[in-house]
């Protein structure tokens, strides 16, 4: 029996032990060459005084870049600002996403069309969102200031992207506009997968809309909430495009996130090695964070 089967397998047959490694080989080789090796190279550069202008004569300087880094107030503030940005964005998207998905689930007619329109921001390149919102919040002729002009009947020139807390808030608005649909779509799919019997049982027990939402909808969505929050946190930890377009991290580092600062150091200030060191420290934090999220994810799955 076994022999017949093996002869049937023909040229496709590879021993069961070696097949998975063979299947994984292209992915492993690619990742090693395009991500693994460059990241090691970046680590090496972070111990030198390499700049793009003097690429030939890089000298080994030990931990000097890392010492500079941890004394750099701008870096430490950018790191904290990135964490704050992540916390505000992910939590607002979560709350908005949950409420909107719940509202949308009650609209029965035209739900497909609704969902398609809702997905529009997901198709925008972050760069595009950046340009759009930079212009919507333009101080002279932006959409928002134009509306304020109509309301107050006199020129309102609020420099949204320049004033201190406003710039940060404006970028957050763009980020939330861009990414809430992702949460909505996932939560909507989750709500639709809740069995109607549970809802009916809650109704028979006389639960109000709000009680049903809190005691039935939200608990059933837990795995969906976890996945959506994890994916979004990882994405926001990488935030660069949007801020880079809207303010470039300025003015005077007011909206500086980690990655805009890395770019500024490496390419604008010609401190490539310091930029590499900073990028390395941040990647390590991000990797630890990812590792933690995935461990938690596996735990919740096993618990469920």
């Amino acid at each position: 029996m076994k022999n017949i089967e093996e002869s049937r397998r023909g040229w496709f047959y590879v021993s069961h032990k070696r097949l998975p490694i063979l299947l994984l080989l292209p992915a492993i080789v690619l990742m090693l060459f395009v991500i693994g090796f460059p990241m090691l190279y970046s680590l090496y550069l972070s111990f030198t005084n390499f700049t793009l202008l003097s690429s030939g004569s890089a000298k080994f300087v030990g931990l000097q870049n890392y010492a500079t880094l941890f004394k750099d107030q701008v870096f430490l503030r950018a790191l904290l600002r990135t964490i704050l940005y992540m916390l505000i964005a992910v939590n607002s998207e979560f709350v908005l996403g949950l409420l909107i998905a719940n509202a949308m689930s009650h609209v029965i007619r035209g739900q497909g069309v609704l969902r398609t329109i809702m997905m529009m921001p997901m198709m925008f390149a972050p760069v595009l969102v950046g340009f759009q919102f930079k212009w919507i919040f333009n101080d002279q002729v932006g959409f928002i200031n134009n509306i304020l002009f109509e309301i107050f009947r006199r020129p309102v020139i609020i420099p949204w992207l320049i004033y201190k807390p406003l710039g940060f808030i404006t970028i957050l608005v763009a980020e939330i506009w861009m990414s809430t649909p992702f949460m909505i779509i996932i939560f909507l799919a989750g709500i639709l997968s809740i069995s109607p019997e549970i809802m009916e049982a809650a109704e028979v027990d006389g639960a109000s809309e709000w009680q049903k939402f809190i005691h039935v909808t939200v608990p059933s969505l837990t795995p969906f909430i976890y996945i959506a929050m994890a994916v979004r946190s990882l994405d926001i930890a990488k935030a660069y495009d949007l801020v880079s377009i809207m303010t470039g991290g300025g003015p005077a580092h007011r909206t500086e996130l980690i990655w805009t600062y890395v770019y500024r150091l490496a390419f604008t200030s010609q401190k490539f090695a310091l930029g590499s060191a900073m990028s390395y420290v941040t990647v390590i934090i991000a990797v630890l964070f990812t590792f933690y999220l995935f461990k938690q994810l596996i735990k919740t799955r096993e618990g469920a």
Binding site: F12, P20, L23, L24, P26, A27, I28, M31, V34, I35, M39, L45, S55, L99, I100, A103, H106, L114, R115, I117, M118, M119, M120, P121, M123, A125, V127, L128, F131, Q132, F133, W135, I136, V141, N146, W177, P181, I185, I186, A189, G190, S193, P223, F224, Y226, I227, A237, K238, Y240, D241, W259, V262, S276, Y280, V283, A286, F289, F291, F294, A304
Partner: protein
């Protein structure tokens, strides 16, 4: 009768919220399309002009190379739209194809086999996703310049393929994991070879998964900015996201032209997403439902 009436009015607040939110999400999109069709003079004046006096498609025609835009602040005819389109479509399509191929092979290994180090390899792949494009762009710029890949389309293709493989592998292993083993076993018993079982049973079932992961990979590459902004220099490799900067100059911006190119850039994304919407949602939520 009573049921009917109550179901119509009961969710009224939900319906109102839905439509208000919908409007909030849709206004910027509408505004983008509208701006691409009105003269820059109108866009840049105060008091604001809300109802446009001349709406036309000149900016699109200028971008696509028909006729010249006589308007002030219009850079349309000078923007090499054709080059950007060629570079964007080649990089996005080839990196999507490669990522699907490599990622699906890896997904098969993860979902259909037990082997040593499986979990750690999987975790390493996922961790690679935590490395942002801008972190990768620093060493890639130096390395690509040394081996002659900077400002080349191939450089972008290689980088984007690597960026897309982990997510493709993750999504596809979810889709493949959903196929019951009994199906492939039944095919084997019916006399199929392993290869034909794979072609006839597995591939049709993972089709939707391929569509969903393909769209994700395509959109990631199509919209990627951080790496492209660092390793592309000329029209030989610049893609749309980088090309958008052609519409901004020191003191003036051609908002209209930029909006026109943005709309053209959005079209493929909109078509693809609408076409595979269902699979997309299923792919995204698969991880939540299945353990």
């Amino acid at each position: 009768m009573k049921m009917h009436r109550s179901s119509r009015t009961r969710h009224l607040p939900s319906k109102i919220i839905t439509f208000v939110v919908l409007a909030l999400f849709f206004v910027p999109v509408l505004w983008l399309v509208l701006t691409s069709m009105r003269p820059n003079i109108e866009i840049n004046t105060r008091p604001p002009v809300w109802i446009s006096k001349s709406v036309n498609l000149d900016s699109y025609l200028a971008l696509l190379g028909f006729g010249v835009n006589p308007e002030r602040f219009a850079f349309g005819e000078n923007v090499p739209f054709g080059d950007y389109f060629r570079n964007s479509i080649i990089t996005a399509a080839s990196s999507t194809f490669l990522a699907l191929f490599i990622g699906t092979l890896a997904a098969f290994a993860f979902s259909s086999f037990k082997f040593k180090g499986k979990n750690s390899i999987f975790l390493t792949l996922m961790i690679a996703r935590a490395i942002p494009g801008i972190a990768l762009s620093l060493p890639l710029l130096v390395l690509f310049t040394r081996i002659g890949l900077s400002d080349k389309i191939y450089g972008l293709v290689i980088a984007y393929t690597a960026m897309n493989v982990p997510f493709t592998a993750w999504l596809m292993s979810g889709f493949i994991g959903e196929i019951p083993d009994e199906l492939t076993e039944a095919a084997l018993i019916d006399g199929c070879s392993r290869w034909t079982a794979f072609l006839r049973v597995v591939i049709p079932l993972v089709g939707p998964g391929l569509a969903a992961s393909g769209i994700f990979a395509f959109l990631t590459s199509w919209n990627e900015f951080a790496i492209a902004s660092v390793i592309t220099r000329t029209t030989a490799s610049k893609t749309f996201p980088v090309g958008l900067f052609d519409f901004t100059a020191e003191f003036v911006s051609d908002w209209r032209g930029m909006c026109a190119m943005s709309v053209l850039m959005l079209i493929p994304a909109v078509i693809f997403v609408i076409a595979v919407q269902r699979q997309l949602v299923r792919g995204l939520t698969l991880g939540a439902i299945k353990g």
